[in-house]
Each structure stands twice: as C-alpha cells, then as structure tokens.
C-alpha cells in the first residue's frame, strides 16, 4: 500500500472522520443512532452510495465542467440512492423494512457531496473509490459508536434486532447490558443524540492532543 492510500484510509477512519472531525452528515447521524444496529445499517448504506458516486464522479471528472458540477454531483448521488432504495426493497426486504425510511435521507447528507467536491472531482478513479469506501466506513464506525452509547444508556440493550439487519447468524450480537426498563429515555430522544455526538467529538480531540497531533479544525476541504 502506498503512502497515498494509507493517508486515505487514516483520513476516512480517524483523522478527517466525516462525523467526528468534519461534523458533516449530522442529520442522519442524529436521526439514525437510536440503536447501534440502526447506526450500522445507515452507515453501510451511506458507504455504498459514497463508493459508487465517488467512482462515477471520478470517471467523468474531465467531462463534468466546473459550471454544472454541483447539479451533476447531486444527480449522481440521488440516482445512486434511488438505485439502492429500489434494489433493497425488491431483494433485501427485511432490511428495507428497518432502514427503508432512512435511505432517502442519504441524499440530504452533505458528506457524500463534500467528498465528491473535495476529492473525487480531482483524483484518479481508484483513489476516489477508496476515499468513498473509507469515508463511508469511518461514517459507519462513528454512527455505530454513537448508536451503541445511546442504546446502552437509553434502552439497556446493545445491537438489538441485529439479526434483522445482518441475518439470523448474528443473533449472538443481541445483548442485554442493563436490566430492562432501566434506561434513561432522554438518550433515545433527540437531545441524547446531540449529547453523545458532542462528547465523542471532545473525546476524539482529547486523544489527538494526547497523541501530540495538531487539532484538525473541521472542514470538508482540509484533506484535499
């Protein structure tokens, strides 16, 4: 792996993480992190859309002129989201029943659009695909982590209904951490989302300072 790919992976997963460093895509982050399973599902769907749209934008980067690039990016992201939506509804229906409502939310997520503008529009096809995948995985990790904290404190469970999302083989992931009905309801409600996401951002910065890194002030363009 060359240093360029190493940077892409590190940026996506930690240094320039979509949620924890750039603070992008907060709408799906707040809406979908009521449980770890929901966060995981939303993250994976977003990662698929980001990888596909990064690949497409990079392939057509010399044809897309500066003046019409934004409408074309939105067109590509929306087309990929609709594609995922239709295919999931037809062939992964159980999963669709859990996530279906939230798939269209990916269009309103500014993280894919930001990465297309900052990365895929300038880079070659393979790095753009990698950027989409790893930014997506970073997004998934952040959503799953926030979802896990909210679910444990709010409902006392962890990865409830994971078998619905991943298949019956993953039943073992569904655990009860606290006795039933001992959760703090607020953590499941919107304020809990802001609290946990905020604490995670602080936590990441503390770790970065400890590691002697300069704090990256968020910004979609800082990685480009």
């Amino acid at each position: 792996m060359t240093t360029e790919y190493k940077t892409i992976v590190k940026d996506g997963l930690w240094d320039n993480n979509g949620v924890l460093a750039m603070l992008l895509g907060l709408c799906p982050t707040m809406a979908m992190t009521t449980s770890a399973t929901n966060g995981l599902g939303m993250g994976l769907a977003t990662a698929a859309v980001m990888a596909a749209s990064g690949l497409l934008v990079s392939m057509f980067r010399s044809q897309i002129t500066q003046e019409v690039r934004i409408p074309v990016y939105i067109l590509i992201v929306a087309a990929m989201v609709t594609l995922v939506d239709l295919c999931m509804n037809a062939w992964m229906h159980e999963l669709y029943k859990v996530l279906g409502l939230f798939i269209p939310l990916i269009v309103s997520n500014c993280l894919p659009l930001a990465r297309l503008e900052a990365f895929a529009a300038k880079e070659k096809v393979l790095p753009s695909l990698m950027d989409g995948i790893f930014m997506g995985i970073g997004f998934t990790l952040a959503l799953t982590a926030i979802g896990a904290v909210r679910e444990i404190t709010g409902a006392g469970t962890l990865f409830a209904d994971a078998s619905l999302l991943l298949g019956p083989a993953f039943k073992f992931m569904e655990t009860h951490v606290l006795p039933p009905d001992s959760g703090v309801l607020m953590m499941i409600l919107p304020p809990g989302g802001f609290l946990v996401a905020g604490l995670m951002v602080v936590g990441k910065r503390i770790l970065d300072v400890r590691a002697g890194k300069a704090i990256q002030m968020g910004g979609a363009h800082s990685a480009a």
Partner: protein
Amino acid sequence: MKQQRMMIHGVILGIFCLGFGLLLAATDQLTVKDIAARAIEDRLNSLSQVIPESIHDNNLVTDAIAMKDGQGNEITVYRATKAGKVTGVAYEIFGTGYAGRIKLMLGVDAEGKVLGVRVLAHKETPGLGDKIETKKGDWILRFTGLSIGNPPVEKWKVKKDGGQFDQFAGATITPRGVVRAIREGLEFFAANKAQMMDMSAPKAPMKEGH
C-alpha cells in the same frame, strides 16, 4: 463564443440526466415485479395477524372492496370468506396519538366482535407510547373478543376518562387515541355491515403503495 459555452454546459447536464434517467428506468423495470410481490406479502402478513386462518378459505388481499370510512378516507376492506359467506372483515383505522396519526389494522368478525388489532405505523415516543406495538407489550391484545356493548359504548374510554381501558404509566394520549379509533372502527362496521357482508359487491382494484 460565450453563448456557445453556455450551450455546452446545458448539453453536458442534459446528457447526464438522460444517462442516469435511463439507468433508473431500467432498474425500476427490473425491480417493479419483486417490489409488488413484497408489498402483497407484507399486506398478507399484517392481515393474518387480525384474521385467524381458521375462519377463511380465500385470498384476503385480492378479495377486497373499496369503501369510505367515517372521516372520509378511502379505505380498502379486506374480506374473509368461508364457503361463500363473509365470516369477517379487516380494514385500516386511524387514531390521533401524541405525535400524529396512528395507523392500525382492525379485524372484526360477522357479529361485530374484534378478531384482533395491530399497529401498522405510528410516531409515538419510544419507551412510552410505543407499548401499543405487540413487540413492546401485550396491551393491544386486550381488545380481542370485545365489541360495542361489551363493554357498553360509554365505557370505550381509558380509565382516566371514566372508561374501562388502562392507560400506561406516563402516556395517556396514545391509548386514548387507540381506544377511540377502535370504537369508531366498530361503529363503522355496525353502520356499514350490510355492504360489507354483501358478496356481490364489486371488488376493489389492487392498489399499490408505491
């Protein structure tokens, strides 16, 4: 020169729209049959929870008639028939909860007794109002076997309003909305029984929520 460059941008955008439009049209063609099949399976699933297998020998989804409910909503009434007789009906009813409309499926037998009620969709507070789901509690099961008259119509309320149904701790508005929806649903049955039981009523065209 400038005019020409404007044209080029338009053409580029147009080509992209055309290309992705075609891609989406092709995907739709490919998935439309499977999606329709899944929708029917879902409908059958929710119907089988409110109409027991033993009282019908027909296909519930295709044997349906279209009616207007008390609030003027177009609803589909699914009919259970056995040996040429209507043995029960199921239809969607709507209640007003704490956070908007609660959609339920109500099954009623030929005598007007509740066969079963299930929540189809709601936006109630997780942990409080969502106990109306069978996944979170068995509150909704208590309606099975009841009818207008058992209990009497003035007792079709939550306890707080002088009726006979428990509310849950911390949530009164949700159960109040559900009890009212079921009472109105049963009254709708009583008022339209003749039409619902009429075997010659024209069948409703299949509608797909797309």
